[in-house]
């Protein structure tokens, strides 16, 4: 999977700059006769290459073995994350309020709120500085979210189990790294947290102190 970002832009920029330099060299030193249609044709050729590359990427995306859950948030600033967290929590609260008032059907409430909650957890985790999510946590979160009764969430859980199989290596080393520190283990994901932590830093479960 390609992750469009600065390297891709940089590459595109380099290709353009290279093309321009080649053009200048050809015209200036090689004495080539370059006319507008030639430039147009060269441009069309470039566009053709781009289109073909993208078509190839469609096939590549489809041909990947297994589903890899991409829960990373990419390059998003801390400030933006905090902002989004606040917004998400508000949205969840409003949704609960609406549900309590009987404005929403149960299925609607569950499917929408579970999506929000997943996102909120991701954002909070990204704020903590962990880029990728422990696959087990993802599975548990989705599987045990309030939406597990609804059909949509069941389906989500199913696809997540697929995801789990697909990416076992993504996060296996993470908990072991965390377990090096002393602290309270989270009952649901077994990640070690600071002694004074009230909630798990990975999954948000409330921690019980002995």
């Amino acid at each position: 999977m390609t992750r469009p970002g600065r390297p891709a832009l940089l590459r595109a920029g380099l290709i353009i700059v290279g093309g321009v330099i080649l053009f200048v060299v050809l015209v200036g030193f090689g004495g080539a006769q370059v006319e507008a249609p030639t430039v147009g044709l060269a441009f069309a050729g470039t566009m053709l290459l781009y289109a073909l590359r993208r078509l190839f990427l469609v096939a590549a995306a489809l041909g990947r073995s297994g589903d890899v859950t991409d829960l990373g948030l990419g390059r998003v600033s801390k400030r933006e994350l905090r902002d989004e967290k606040r917004r998400l929590l508000r949205a969840i609260k409003e949704l609960e309020f609406d549900y309590g008032m009987g404005k929403l059907s149960k299925a609607d409430y569950e499917s929408v709120s579970s999506a929000y909650k997943m996102r909120a957890i991701e954002v909070m985790r990204a704020l903590e500085g962990n880029a990728d999510l422990h696959p087990e946590v993802a599975a548990i979160l989705r599987g045990e979210s309030p939406g597990s009764a609804g059909s949509a969430s069941a389906e989500a859980a199913e696809s997540d189990r697929g995801a789990e199989r697909g990416a076992p290596s993504a996060g296996t080393d993470e908990p072991s790294a965390a377990s090096a520190d002393a602290g309270t283990a989270c009952p649901s994901c077994e990640v070690k947290n600071d002694d004074d932590a009230r909630f798990c830093k990975h999954c948000g479960t409330a921690l019980e102190h002995a």
């Binding site: 999977m1 469009p4 507008a36 249609p37 430039v39 147009g40 044709l41 441009f43 069309a44 566009m47 053709l48 781009y50 289109a51 073909l52 590359r53 993208r54 078509l55 990427l57 469609v58 590549a60 995306a61 489809l62 990947r64 297994g66 589903d67 890899v68 859950t69 991409d70 990373g72 948030l73 990419g74 390059r75 998003v76 600033s77 400030r79 933006e80 902002d83 989004e84 917004r87 998400l88 508000r90 949205a91 409003e94 609406d98 404005k103 929403l104 059907s105 609607d108 499917s111 929408v112 999506a115 929000y116 996102r119 389906e155 989500a156 696809s159 995801a163």
Partner: protein, 669 residues
């Protein structure tokens, strides 16, 4: 393989790729499969790549003069300057549809790329909606209007050339700018639909589309004003806006996007008007399609519609119906999620001012749309009555009539002034409720200045009630903006001692959205100030021979002779008109008629004007008799007209300040 067949093949690929992308995204969203979703996203990029390839092919065909392609032959010739050869790409109907697809896929790709991490839940739905729209336009290109359609026999060797009226500086940027505005509105629409489908209808999706809408709005504004400048400089009837259906088509989404940009603030602040905001986005998008329909299908008669085509009309009609049913169906389905959280607490609140603003803008849009389409409705009724005399014989649709500028002006003038009043009143009101003491404190200054501005022009012998009302409201609104800035600056300086300029730029940069908005309002005030000049414009038609003079207001126009010149493209007759004020020559105007060799029966009118801050002296030549020297001239004095263009600049500057808002700054308004 010829360019023509390669191009047609590419369009077929765009069509197929759109189907694939829609399929992948819908399946991916339904099964929550990242693999399929990723495939869909890449498919969207691929569609853009293909569209870019097809477009560069047609540009290549123009550059190399491949007249075996009908479209190239119709809109260009080998003698045209290079620049016009490239812009001829969107000079005709077929090419402009391809240009549409190109921009649409480009914006789609950019929007998805920018938001795929931030709004992961929405992305597959966004991709599906965007690709479905691409599918429609690609279908049009494929089945109805193939820009690559070749001549099968009798391949011509020369082109017909682009209409000389379109070979004008403003015309190069006017259509693409309107297009940018039109097409980019599909992105907010797709996000709105995605929010509805996924049920995540909080203010989040709007934050990501607010800037897109602002972007569309900026380009619509630029497009409209360039169209106005083009009409003013090229058509030679002394005005800039004639309520032509095609101009109106650009104005309609402009109204609704302004309404959205205001009402979205209420949703962010108070959680109200969710259905309304989604509906505004849907309506704006629908209006862009209606606008395309009006300009492209030729059902509405206009200066620059592209000729009649009933197949295209029916296709567009069906597409619009699908959009309406789909979008509003989703709104109805998701209505439980879209309930309002707050309530209006007082009529003296900013929410209420925004609400009235929205009603007025929507009224404007509905009125303009209705009046533009009315003659066409009458015509359709006539056709229906003729076809089914038994069932519909009792209806008398009447004659197809022409609804002209006076009709529009009569109703739009009060609406416009009401909006100007709101522009002034709105910012003075507080959220939720404004108290009496507050009211007095806020309104005294603006009211006094407004009244002064109403009375002052009377001493300059201006007695048109509309003009006076407009001046007064401009003064009122102007003062509110000044007051807001002044109070903001005082506040900043009281917190930390700093210079005046520093405090002001601090205001603009720290609360961009609010103060950027005020700058936009200032631009609007200046534009209204310019429009007010219409109330006392002078318009004369006269015949002059060389040596004769004509009194025009405070000026004297003296005919100094005629010149006949020619270049490789055209023959030109130019009149030299000296403009005298108080007996001194201040400028020489050179209105002209140009006969292009390509289109000798369609001479163009070249306007000449003497510009000052206060007024334009504007001359255009209608008829000329070279043997006797009789020259028929249209002479105008357009007071304050240049303030419209200045206001436009200010408005765009303000809009750019707003666009610069960082995402996290949304709450500073």
């Amino acid at each position: 393989m010829t360019i023509a067949s390669l191009g047609s093949l590419t369009i077929l690929l765009i069509f197929l790729m759109s189907i694939v992308t829609v399929g992948l995204s819908v399946a991916g969203a339904y099964r929550r499969s990242p693999r399929l979703i990723e495939g869909g996203v890449q498919g969207l990029y691929a569609t853009f790549g293909l569209a870019a390839f097809a477009s560069s092919l047609i540009v290549y065909a123009f550059l190399s003069g491949d007249f075996s392609i009908q479209y190239v032959q119709h809109t260009s010739d080998s003698a045209m300057p290079l620049f016009y050869k490239i812009t001829a790409f969107w000079g005709g109907l077929d090419g402009s549809l391809l240009f549409w697809v190109l921009l649409h896929t480009l914006f789609g790709a950019l929007a998805v790329r920018a938001n795929r991490k931030r709004h992961r839940e929405l992305i597959p739905h966004v991709v599906a909606v965007l690709s479905a729209i691409t599918l429609f336009f690609a279908g049009l290109l494929l089945f109805l209007k193939d820009p690559f359609a070749p001549y099968l026999i009798d391949i011509p060797t020369t082109g017909k050339g682009l209409n000389p009226l379109l070979q004008n500086f403003y015309m190069i940027f006017h259509p693409p700018s309107l297009y940018l505005g039109y097409v980019s509105l599909a992105v907010p629409y797709a996000f709105g639909m995605a929010a509805l489908i996924s049920g995540q209808v909080d203010a989040n999706w709007q934050r990501s589309v607010r800037r897109w809408v602002l972007f569309s709005w900026i380009f619509l504004s630029i497009g409209l004003i360039l169209g106005g400048l083009w009409a003013y400089e090229e058509l030679g009837w002394g005005g800039y806006w004639a309520w032509d259906p095609v101009e109106n088509a650009g104005l309609l989404p402009w109204f609704t996007t302004v309404a959205f940009l205001h009402s979205v603030m209420i949703q962010e602040r108070r959680g109200m008007m969710k259905v309304w905001n989604v509906s505004l986005i849907i309506i704006s998008f629908l209006l862009t399609i209606i606008g395309t329909f009006m300009t492209r299908s030729g059902v509405v008669q206009s200066v620059h519609a592209f000729g009649e085509d009933s197949d295209l009309a029916w296709t567009f009609g069906a597409f619009m119906l699908v959009i309406v049913v789909f979008s509003f169906g989703l709104v109805i389905w998701r209505r439980p999620l879209l309930r309002a959280r707050g309530e209006l607490e007082s009529a003296l609140s900013r929410e209420f001012a925004f609400l009235v603003n929205n009603w007025l803008f929507l009224t404007c849009a509905v009125f303009v749309l209705g009046a533009t389409m009315w003659p066409t409705f009458i015509e359709w009724m006539q056709i229906l009555v003729e076809r089914y005399p038994n069932a519909l014989g009792w209806i008398d649709p009447g004659e197809r009539m022409v609804i002209g500028p006076p009709f529009f002006n009569r109703y739009m003038r009060p609406l416009g002034l009401a909006l100007l009043l709101l522009t002034g009143v709105g910012p003075l009101l507080a959220w939720r409720k404004t108290t009496g003491a507050n009211l007095i404190k806020q309104f005294t200054g603006p009211l006094v200045f407004g009244v002064a501005c109403t009375i002052a022009p009377v001493f300059l012998e201006i007695d048109s009630p509309w003009g006076l009302a407009c001046f007064g409201l401009c003064g009122f609104t102007f003062w509110t903006i000044v007051q807001e800035f002044y109070r903001g600056i005082i506040l900043r300086r009281s917190r930390r001692p700093q210079g005046f300029i520093e405090a002001m730029s601090g205001l603009l940069l720290k609360a961009r959205r609010r103060y950027g908005g005020y700058v936009v309002h200032l631009g609007i005030v200046l534009m209204f100030f310019g429009w007010a000049g219409n109330a006392y414009k002078i318009e004369r038609k006269t015949q002059l021979q060389p040596g004769q003079s004509y009194e025009l207001g405070a000026y004297t126009i003296r005919h100094d002779g005629l010149r006949v010149t020619e270049d490789w493209q055209k023959e030109m007759i130019t009149a030299d008109l000296a403009v005298l004020k108080d007996g001194e020559v201040v400028d020489v105007l050179t209105p002209a008629r140009w006969w292009y060799y390509q289109l000798p029966d369609q001479p163009t009118t070249e306007v000449s004007r003497y510009m000052t801050a206060g007024e334009d002296v504007y001359a255009s030549m209608q008829e000329v008799d070279l043997s006797t020297g009789w020259t028929q001239l249209s002479l105008f004095i357009n007071p304050l007209i240049n303030w419209i263009w200045i206001g436009m600049m200010v408005m765009l500057g303000g809009a750019l300040v707003c666009v610069g808002t960082r995402k996290s700054e949304g709450d500073d308004d």
